[in-house]
Amino acid sequence: MQEYLSNGRLLRLCLKELRESLRDRRTIMTLIMMPILVYPLLSMAMQRLLLGAVSAPSGQLEYVIGVADETTARVISLALRETQKAASEGVRPSIEIIRPAPKDANTNPLSQRLNETNGEGENALNRSESAPGIENGMGINSPTAGAIRTNQQAAFSIVVPERTTVSTSLADGQLDLAILSASVERFPFPNGVSIPLFEFKMEFRDGDPRSEMAMAEFRKAMQLINDYQSALLRGNRLPASVTLVSNAVGQRIDPMASLAGVLPLVLILMTITGAVYPAIDLTAGERERGTMEAMIATPAPRFVLLLSKYVAVVTVAVLTAVANLFASWVTLSLGGLGRALLGERGFSFWTLIQIFPLLVIFAAFFSAILLAMCSFARSFKEAQAYLIPVMLVSLAPALVTLMPNVEFSTLLGIVPLVNILLLSRDIMTGASTTLPAFAAVLSTLLYAAAALVVASRLFGGESATSGSQESWSDLMRRPKRRFPTPDIGELAIYLALLFPVFFVATNLAGQWMLSIEQKLLVNALLLCVLFLLAPGFFAIYRRMDLKKTFLLRLDGTENPNGLPRPVRLLGVFAASCLMAAGLWIVAYEALKLLSDLGFGTIDLQKTAALEEAKSRFREVPFWLIFLTSALIPAICEEFFFRGFVLSAFRSRLHPTRAVIYSALLFGVFHVVNGNVLSIERFAPTAILGLALGFLAVRSDSLWPGILLHAIHNGLLFWLTRFNQSELAEWLGSDSEHFPTAWIVASVGSIAIGIVVLYFSTLKRSDEVSS
């Protein structure tokens, strides 16, 4: 494969695929024409939707008021007739309903605006100024007599819900307003005239524009009565004509949040649209054109063939994403819709810069899925038939993200497509959180890698060339031949399965109310299952050579030097002890340094809680801590990272690169720490991973690494047995850091360990080369 990956050949192969895609007018149509057409149209549709969502429904609207019984209905009708009378006398309402501009996610835009535009606002209704009343002599309308129009804008019809309470009907959306109780009293004047004094207790749906508007209109109407009577009876101090107590009920629905989710969905759908045609054309299209057979008859590895196609599809998808992102940015910025959708910040250029990498990651993921789906299709038509269900299936969870109050929780971070949608939405509204974001990005990349591996195995397979009945199921079949170690493809598939399970499991375990001892045991159990048993079973199922994959031999050196075996072994194990003796101090200092630099995730305010947790931790017997936090992790993690992962990388890569990649992966997995993201753990763990990888490659055995890992973890946890003052006393310096002499000694110990290891595992080839 090397000759295809070097000399710019891969680049030329990619260029061929890109040329083929980009010279096709259909690709260009999707790439350029679609964004030009879609966003202005979408913008118009959104503007209409937005007006409907956040402002008063205009025109002759009729609101439905629910009342508990007929008596209440009569009181309401009476009040509404009073408003008609006031209006007919030419009284203008002192409350104006302003169509509010959005938004502050935590406040009710409507009520806020009402209060802002009219300083008296709701209070005006409760003012104790009224006038000597006039008997209006009006009868009370029957509730069924039709809607009562209070002014030119709004009309109210009054209903008595059958079988349910008004509150339930309101919650169900059958009513716009619910009046729980209404009373009217006559306030008599000495001249025999009386005025009605109303009191209402009502409810409306919080965040529902229609219900909020109904409430505002009703309040405005009632204010009319107050204004009318205070104008008539100027100077007389009376109780308020209308006393109105309103209550917002239900979970607040923020119409903006759901609308803000539309944009990422549209962007992602358009990115998909851009990728679909090239994905089909470069896979099923090859077969339909009759170029597939000639291509796969060449010695070029299928993975390389597919990789070049993948690069082309991702490039077209990213170009589509850029075109769409730019078009949407221009449309939203020019039309002012950005602010309406996304708040005061609008759709800033910075937001655009943040969203772009997400779209690239998504393009990388979905292109791989598309290629996997199309790779075993024999024609364009067949590929389309496979893709349509995939698109529909992915749309369903995508629509979930449009629902209001869907929070980007940690667990949703690993759900493909949904995670990127929610993350984009949160970035746009400025509310993103680190842990789900990390999970979203990492899991999407892992899924992409796994899908690409699947695609490369399906691409040009027998099913695509000879018409036999083989398909997806072949991938899961147990291989007939024995393979010595896993390859990178198998690793990608295993990681794509492992990461979500690991992530969910550590999160759930973090949420359970467990004692410290139980937590330690659960964590150890998880490690055993995910890093020891599962890869073990996977290796057995795939007929791998277990001894070779997991470096199980005590002395794996294949080309030993002249040293006797016991001396060689002694050297290797002594080296691991020496390295462990130094590494834990280096790891501790690196962790401290990174925390000091602000990479720490431990909140200072939580220090007290942390101290308490530490003191409880000190009560746990040390043998249990050693077992669950040092010995079991050492065995399981070495088994997986220096066994499975390193072997997989070594199957294709130079050992140095294999060690580096496995160390990076080791670091990444340690960043997810229960339900917090400990970024500061990455570097120290990756350094430990490098040392362990180096040890495994040199010794060709897992056991020295297990020893090093167990001592390293054991010493670090032993340190937690002491409280600050004990540490200070013991170290003879400030409790935060080790004395310089210790640090120098630890570096020296590591260096000596490396030298001892080098000479103990010196192979004849090394001697020759040196």
Partner: protein
Amino acid sequence: MIVAKGLRKQFMVRGQTLVAVDRISFTVGNGEVYGLLGPNGAGKTTTLRMVMGLLDPDEGHVEIGGVRTDIDPIAIRSQLGLISTNDGVYPWLTVREMLMYFADLYAVEVPVAQIRLEELAELLNIRSFLDQRCSTLSTGQKQRVTLARGLMHDPPVMLLDEPTRGLDVVGSQTVFEFIDLLKKRGKSVLLSTHRLDEAERVCDRFGLLHHGTVRYEGTLDDLRTLTGKYHLVDMFIDLIREDRQSVPSPTAGA
């Protein structure tokens, strides 16, 4: 040099086992054209695919230049060239781009590929449309591009799968000239066809396939002696007749 030994391949079709090729053996020497002949469904394409390493034989193996293909099926592919009836071209690429693409797939270095491209352009008369997009080419031009594509990596072994199907007289003549060229360059050519008249013109030796087995093998003279028929067509008609007689049918003897 191609050596096929005891090749066997069966497929599962709707739950039933179908033996496509049943223990076929043959040898093709350098500078020799071997005709793998047979009616549709005789197993010609399956045999070619096994020689190419696109299909793993259930039994037997193939050697190319003395190296077994199942040991390193990928590496052996650079020794093989393939031209098939169904071969298409990339409509959006120019002829030059397409040929250079295949040179890359065969890991031919760019300067070498450029020299070879010039040589083939002359030999197959494609120079005039080298920089034209493939979608604009006529059928005959496309065919010549396909032939050039098969030689971009100058393989010692060439596999031709029904190369004249669907071509007119001029097109077929181009293919015959191409085969002559291959022969002169000392390449081993394995030609699968059901056009027996054409096979007589270009092949040195023949393997007559029927129901997945080689029924007759040898030079045209060998076959004539063996079957007592002069033309390949007559030999085949005999084969098919034998087949019908061996399968009793309700109308047999009527």
